[in-house]
Subunit: 584 residues, 2 copies
């Protein structure tokens, strides 16, 4: 409060200078520095509160002028200011007159909230979540009210809302969050998403998303090359998730064999049937329902003990369907099932598809990432024989949600299947090559930019970076498997080393260990995982998924896709299960 | 270079202090300040490059310690540091050991790029775009190469890539970008998206998105209330865009009348037909193709001169279809057509739907926002009689892409239509009320968090803020209409004041003004708008859409949804059209 300083050191020696201003509280700090970030010239202004406003503005003005003179491009380094947001409202931000300063200050304040969240996400001393029941959050927590009102709230309240939204949420990037196939918080991907939001555009035409459209095209071609299609030829799109990607595959298959359905509807086709494993993702059945096949015409295939399709069962069911007068159309092979992480034998299935002239789709939403690993990609051998592939970089490759690709071997078929040629959007008389407009290939009109974060991550990590990530996650799951396979109190759901990072197991509390196998034990065991999970969530220490499967009672499904996970986190999970489950 | 300062003023008088550190270049600035943002205590450290490292770290250490002692919560104010990113890689960021500092610095550097972009977006002296043809961008611009490689790039290159991505993109928030129904850059919405990306979660279960799930529920209820459904009852979801929302409406209608289609497929239903206007969005026809109705079973209705459905034509076509043995199922009324901005007469259509027992959907993707305006909502009179409504806040309400709602009057029908009861995701034995899990209502599995930005904007603007926005955009379009309706060189595509912000017009260059009407003039006029548009894009000064419609040759469609637009921008557009088109 007592000290008045004004220190100014700025000698413009270079032409390539950018300006840096940090406005903190009522004090100004300004730094003009070399654009190369290595020149050390700095300007520092420091003004105390008790300076008169006039003096302050004069001095600040002088600094600003000086800094301006040293500027050689029109980019500005941001200024940080102590700002009273309690009297500011959304209407004071850009495009409001004089809205620039409050806009920047507001965004920087938000960024501070976000960077603090990022820090804590990776901090094992913080909780994964601070669980509340719906009614608790709905009643309103201290200062956090979800209700919307007619009148605006101050920006101060908006910032509080941002903090509270994160506070009562779940840290999906926390090293001990194992609950979903998508986990982790990739910093480059995050930066990519921030940029994507700022660009706020739409993938439907080159006209308004030139860079993103080209990035999508190049990245999808690279993915097709990795799948193994000659020259990376074919077609593809990013879609809003694996379920929609799988739906595309069924649509395209139908269009390939029965193009008249597009115009005349399903009544123009015979009774078509689709095949997929009983362990496959429910989106195949959902696609059957949505697209008008009917879910009973999605025929489920038997799997072996480890959840892999039995090819002989596929062939038997094809023959059976044909005998009943149905027309087999489509087979889905899963590369990495949701629960067991099983890889269906693609080559064997491809042989059968070729024999009966069926469309082969590979749902690699979860397992597609293994294509990036020289060590593990053999698990998808035969994928190059598929007609279409779903591959979600937002799962095993750690890309932020959402990022799912549907890739198709035959060029032009997405366009043929989906085009409606809307004149207001896809004008043929544009000045550029309109084959770059992607909108008419999609079932969407507007389409979110999902590519940039992925492209940026690929640039930043390189192909080898993804490979290392995949290999590391699989090593960690091997570590878990080896740790518990013979440990007292654990039973594995299936024998042998898992193919993917999925490790499925029962934790048997001491009270059940000597109980004879039978219905009573089954019923009790069925309740163990939900109870442990509920306690985990109440404690907020970790999260892992559980589910029943077929005739198997509730078991834990552990997966690893987060690059922050270490062996100690795996150890922690096991200790936590035992701590919480010991007395059940 | 000559000045060594270390200034430290910190007296801890309050308990509620947060820490502020700004590390700039080789200098540290630190400010500990009151959390209330109004207490003026500050700490400033300034160290020049020529200090020895030892001395620097000692002093910095001392400062850090002191700041720590004054900290009363565990949040940290971010530090800004001059960082050499040329030797840093993605692998050096979190979760890497000591990754926190480079992570924060990298994110702050990205934020600087983004805030500069935000500033420029609102700056009329900058271009809307810097147009390049696909081949130019693909060949690689100076320092900007889209190709992906095996090896990682430095973070310095990643930052350059971020800058260049924005540089060669299109500023959809620029006050002179009028190209799409979605435009503008709302700062609160942007902050909301940044937070959403950081939270990186998924809407399918309450378990991992508790706050977002509740926000979605409350906001959708509010939207249903505004539509006018009693107590806001019903159901709804945010979907990945208006086309998918419209597709939901057709699916739900089919499920309502022919629930067996879900199981048995379209062969279980009679030949169903759908009705929509010839001016409606192509997604209705696309839904017909995708869902197995066939696009020829989507019957197009005639419109009046202003693009509104003629109800008598609907009734005639229903009767005609029934006579042919088809079963009418569904009628779409558009509230705000894409090109003309026309509002179909919902009440008249609803009467017919009631008479023939048909599902009434209102596609208010574009016009739904007018419900927020007491002045304009009468244009949607009768919407409360609809069975389902599409309403895209990402269009007229200025919410960042994507944000589209499908709202359904009958509760439970989305669940009935789409549920597959996947055990691994929707366990009935969770510890919370699982009716909050939304995933099984959707055709997606994972679903992006589209709600938060919208909820936050609503909080920040209030209902009245949206109303003001809508009213203002309509005033601006009225201004444009009045300006050009009698202006030399302009012809309106339809007579009378537009219902929405769409103003459709031909610009007639002097060379065509005296030409007699006929094929030659038509052909020449058809080429005018594309030529002007191409020149606009080359100049980068503004962007506006054009298209033909029915037998009408290419015309401009001007729309306003960006809150940054002023009358001067409208004037600019007209001047620019005349400047570029004068000599055609």
């Amino acid at each position: 409060m007592l000290c008045v300083h004004f220190c100014f050191i700025g000698i413009c020696l270079v032409t390539n200078l950018s300006k840096r201003l940090v406005l903190a509280g009522d004090a100004w700090y300004g730094v003009a520095h070399g654009c190369t970030r290595k020149l050390g010239m700095k300007i520092c202004g420091f003004l105390q509160k008790n300076n008169s406003l006039d003096e302050k503005s004069r001095m600040v003005g002088a600094f600003k002028e000086s800094a301006k003179n040293q500027m050689c491009d029109n980019s500005e380094r941001f200024m940080r200011a102590e700002t009273d947001f309690s009297n500011l409202f959304a209407r004071d931000l850009l495009p409001a007159k004089n809205g620039e300063e409050p806009t920047i200050q507001f965004l920087l304040e938000v960024v501070e909230i976000l960077t603090n969240y990022v820090r804590k996400t990776f901090d094992r001393s913080t909780k994964v979540l601070d669980f509340h029941h719906p009614h608790q959050l709905l009643e309103g927590m201290e200062g956090f009210n979800l209700e919307l009102s007619d009148q605006p709230e101050s920006l101060e309240q908006i910032l509080v809302d941002c903090r509270d939204t994160l506070k009562y949420g779940v840290r999906t990037g926390h090293p001990r969050f194992f609950n979903q196939l998508s986990s982790g918080l990739d910093i480059i991907g995050l930066a990519g998403e921030w940029l994507t939001s700022t660009a706020n555009t739409n993938m439907f035409t080159y006209e308004i998303a030139p860079v993103f459209v080209l990035m999508e095209q190049l990245t999808l071609k690279k993915m097709r090359e990795i799948i193994g299609w000659p020259n990376g030829d074919g077609d593809a799109l990013f879609s809003p998730g694996g379920a929609i990607s799988n739906m595309y595959s069924v649509m395209v298959a139908r269009y390939k064999y029965f193009p008249e359905v597009k115009t005349k509807g399903m009544s123009a086709a015979p009774r078509l049937v689709l095949f997929t494993s009983e362990h496959s993702h429910y989106s195949i059945k959902k696609a059957g329902a949505v697209l008008g096949f009917g879910k009973e015409n999605v025929i489920l295939l038997k799997t072996d003990e480890r959840g892999r399709v039995i090819p002989a069962d596929l062939e038997a069911k094809i023959i059976d369907a044909k005998q009943k007068g149905y027309v087999p159309l489509f087979v889905n092979a899963t590369a990495g099932t949701t629960v067991y992480g099983a890889f269906d034998p693609i080559n064997d299935i491809a042989d059968i598809c070729e024999k009966y002239n069926l469309w082969l789709h590979v749902d690699g939403a979860w397992g597609g990432g293994l294509l990036m690993s020289r060590k593990h990609r053999h698990k998808l051998n035969g994928i190059e024989r598929a007609n279409s592939v779903t591959w979600n970089p937002h799962k095993m490759m750690g890309v932020p949600l959402q990022c799912s690709a549907i890739l198709v071997r035959e060029k032009g078929i997405l366009q043929g299947c989906n085009s409606m040629c809307a004149g207001y959007l896809f004008q043929p008389d544009k000045q550029y090559d309109v084959t770059y407009d992607t909108g008419d290939k999609a079932i969407q009109c507007g389409r979110h930019v999902d590519i940039f974060k992925f492209w940026l991550m690929w640039k930043a990590k390189g192909t080898i970076g993804f490979e290392q990530h995949i290999d590391r996650c699989l090593e960690l799951s091997e570590y878990l498997y080896n740790k518990i396979k013979n440990r007292e109190g654990y039973e594995m759901v299936f024998e042998g080393q898992p193919q993917h990072t999925n490790v499925c197991f029962w934790y048997i509390p001491p009270s059940l260990r000597s109980m004879p196998h039978g219905d009573e034990r089954r019923e009790k065991l069925h309740r163990v995982a939900p109870k442990i999970k509920a306690m985990m969530m109440e404690c907020g220490t970790t999260m892992v998924g559980y589910q029943p499967q077929g005739d198997k009672v509730n078991f834990f499904r552990m997966v690893v896709s987060n690059h922050a996970v270490t062996k100690s986190d795996i150890d922690f999970l096991i200790n936590e299960i035992e701590r919480l489950g010991h007395d059940l």
